[in-house]
Symmetry: C2
Subunit: 201 residues, 2 copies
């Protein structure tokens, strides 16, 4: 793959991020663009935008729950909202960035496992033990993961990635930037594809 990368920002506790994550690599593959996955802490972003988690909002919450399920059905993607949703995603993010320092592909595989567990399996990945268990389940050494996710550099990496995303205007999940053009929302992935196909409009 030789084109400029597609940046894919998401929060692990975001159902629409889960739906987007099932498809963004295929879009990259179609246009020979690598896809860089960047989990961020949407709770930090929400403090800057004055937003709150969607499903807890009056009127918007019930619509979102219905639309998430409807969007998943349309895409043929297994989906359920786990008990305990929304969940703290900081620990899963730390495992991701610890892995990313060793192998970006291993980090992506871990992200896919978190999303699959949460939104197909219906089990949140909210605490350090659950985040480490999941890594162990796909072949990583649990003790190494638990030590790695506590490294100051890893914690700082997550803070920096969230801040850099905000500096680029990222305020939701999923959020895609391609050739400097921002696209917010799972329902805009088709537009990302068109943008790549046509060169923009």
């Amino acid at each position: 793959m030789s084109g400029a990368p597609i940046e894919f920002y998401f929060d692990f506790s975001s159902p629409y991020g889960y739906l987007g994550a099932q498809r963004v690599d295929a879009i990259g593959g179609e246009f020979a663009r690598p896809v860089i996955w960047r989990p961020i802490l949407l709770g930090v972003v929400f403090k800057a935008t004055g937003q709150s988690p969607l499903v807890g909002q009056n009127m918007r919450g019930p619509y979102a729950a219905r639309d998430m399920a409807r969007s998943a059905r349309k895409l043929g993607i297994k989906f359920r909202l786990p008990e305990g949703f929304p969940f703290a995603s900081v620990h899963a993010c730390r495992v991701f960035y610890w892995l990313d320092g060793r192998s970006p592909e291993a980090a992506k595989d871990y992200a896919r496992a978190v999303y699959r567990t949460a939104f197909a399996g219906g089990r949140v990945v909210a605490d350090a033990a659950a985040a480490a268990d999941l890594a162990a389940g796909i072949g990583h050494d649990r003790a190494h993961v638990l030590a790695g996710m506590e490294q100051a550099a890893v914690k700082e990496r997550l803070r920096a990635e969230t801040q850099q995303a905000m500096d680029k205007g990222v305020f939701g999940s999923p959020f895609v930037i391609v050739d400097g053009e921002p696209f917010w929302g799972n329902d805009r992935l088709a537009e990302v594809r068109e943008w790549l196909q046509t060169g923009g409009w």
Copy 2:
């Protein structure tokens, strides 16, 4: 047209409502569904949802301004944000509902004129005089309009329509309900069409 109607909810000060308004009747026509237009006061709805006008929001506002223009370009629809945006839409709503009591088609024509003036012409329709002028410009008697829009029954109709919309879960603009199924956003109109074509999923 014999099918159950499509309900099209919008605020006159909503750019995405403007974009949706250019296309929703064609979708209705394709599936022999009448389209009922219902302007509402999104400011009242926002008090219930804790939201505020999009373009004034940190990070979300600049993205929205960019996305509105980009969405219009993609659809081939002339678009500009008028000075004084967002504007009070209560007077245009009252003219609409006064006309609607006499002729729903005349009310729709008026709504199209408001949107055209605001988002193609770049002039807000914010006060009673501007709302009446616009009606006069498409053939209505200005003095009748000014008197009509002040009728208690017309003001009450607007309050009731906004409340009924909220009771149905409407929280944004545009918002479409078809056969009980809610769709929020200009970018979901293609999905409304697919829903009508396939019978849902």
